[in-house]
């Protein structure tokens, strides 16, 4: 799995050039200008939306080819003009072809390395959960080690973690149900246990979650409305005292219990 979509097998302008030469199965000089341009455009059309930098590299190559090709066709330039031509990327066809030949050698060698790699990956060493070298990282080494971590490494770690997560069963989190009637009862019980008079804060502090706190507050409001309790504050910012009112209407209380 690759993280960047890659539509081509070309690894650089030389690679494309080799491909163009091979595809035409001809000497580079035999390729028509039209063919070079067509193949190039066809290629660029496929890659540009993914990698404009690569497209730029290939443009240099194609332009160089066209220049060499046109130089070949046009009459030899005057000697003075020659000097101005030195600026181009590959100053002569000879140099270009030397480079191309050299690149071809290394491309082939890369292929051999690929085979060696595949061959070696068929041999498995005893699997160690944590490679021995990873122990005992000194703090001063940490930064230099960190700088060696590549994007690919991070992606691999993420992938491993995600794969592990998928294996584990997802945990179902059920919504916590807090009933208003139960809270109302809890408040009354709390009041009974404390001689019918408590600081409202004491009850709220026993609530373990935000929803429980909100429902508790609602329960207090309902109890006030039902005249089961009475709330008062002696002075500004002082403690709010909650007091049990025994003469509260039971009839209304039942109505609340049903709809709670």
């Amino acid at each position: 799995m690759t993280y960047r979509v890659k539509t081509s097998i070309f690894e650089g302008p030389f690679d494309l050039l080799l491909h163009l030469v091979k595809k035409a199965e001809l000497d580079i000089y035999e390729i028509s200008l039209k063919e070079i341009v067509q193949q190039y455009l066809e290629y660029v059309k496929r890659i540009q939306e993914f990698n404009s930098e690569a497209a730029g590299d290939f443009l240099v190559m194609a332009a160089t080819l066209l220049k060499l090709k046109s130089q070949k066709i046009l009459p030899e330039p005057e000697a003075e003009e020659d000097l101005e031509e030195e600026e181009i990327f590959y100053s002569s066809e000879k140099e270009l072809f030397q480079r191309l030949a050299e690149y071809r050698v290394f491309k082939e060698r890369a292929g051999k390395f690929k085979n060696l790699e595949e061959q070696e990956q068929k041999h498995y060493a005893r699997y160690l959960e944590t490679p021995l070298e990873e122990y005992n990282i000194k703090e001063e080494d940490f930064e230099s080690l960190l700088s060696k971590v590549t994007l690919e490494d991070l992606r691999n770690v993420l992938e491993t973690v995600l794969n592990k997560l998928e294996e584990e069963d997802p945990q179902v989190i059920l919504p916590e149900e807090i009933s208003l009637t139960e809270k109302m009862e809890a408040i009354l019980d709390f009041l009974m246990c404390n001689h019918g008079k408590v600081k409202i804060q004491d009850f709220f502090e026993r609530q373990k979650s935000r929803p429980a706190l909100i429902v508790s507050f609602l329960a207090v409001l309902v109890l006030i409305k039902l005249r089961k309790i009475f709330v008062q504050q002696q002075y500004t910012f002082g403690p709010i005292i909650m007091e049990y009112l025994s003469e509260g209407s039971d009839m209304e209380g039942e109505r609340w219990e049903e709809s709670g």
Binding site: R99, Y103, K114, E117, E120, H123, T150, D153
Partner: protein, 168 residues
């Protein structure tokens, strides 16, 4: 008296990676010649009884691994955790470094025709290449060379294994 052959076998198993002759010398007190003959004996033992394990010399060290015929099954066993192969760009860059070392970034770029700075960083990160010095030219550019891990990655015993291809 410990059975020396069994001892070497045990060490190679426990290591789970190539073990250098020097390390084995330090551990066992045997000399290189004795170690080599014990290793070769072990090697032929494994071969002659068609073992699932195999002893090889990789990166100048002794390495116990599984035998390649079983690779497809082991691969299945480790599904999802398999080592990824290097990209074509990385392989081309490594090939140039392997044959031209010590070599600078610009020299590699001249051959590949593309920038290689990111690939070099990644290869250094994977310990496949390292800085081996500075070229005494303008700017003193970094020279790169391959590492032991490079040899191990490709199952090579030494860089001289690459020589046959160098004739070109």
């Amino acid at each position: 008296m410990v059975n020396q052959k069994a001892l070497i076998e045990a060490l190679l198993f426990a290591a789970g990676k190539p073990v250098s002759v020097k390390k084995l010398k330090d551990l066992t007190g045997l000399n290189s010649k004795e170690l080599r003959s014990i290793f070769e004996e072990l090697q032929s033992d494994y071969l002659s009884r068609d073992s699932g394990l195999e002893l090889r010399e990789v990166a100048g060290a002794f390495f116990m691994t599984t035998q390649e015929d079983h690779a497809p099954f082991i691969k299945k066993f480790f599904a999802g955790r398999e080592q990824q192969g290097l990209s074509q760009a990385a392989l081309e860059t490594l090939a140039i470094i392997a044959y031209k070392q010590p070599v600078t970034r610009l020299e590699i770029e001249a051959i590949r025709g593309v920038k290689v700075d990111k690939i070099l960083d990644r290869l250094v990160g994977k310990n496949l290449i390292k800085e081996v010095g500075r070229k005494s030219t303008l700017g003193r550019p970094i020279l790169y060379g391959t590492t032991r891990e490079f040899l191990q990655h490709f199952g090579l015993n030494s860089l001289s294994d690459l020589i046959p291809a160098q004739k070109q």
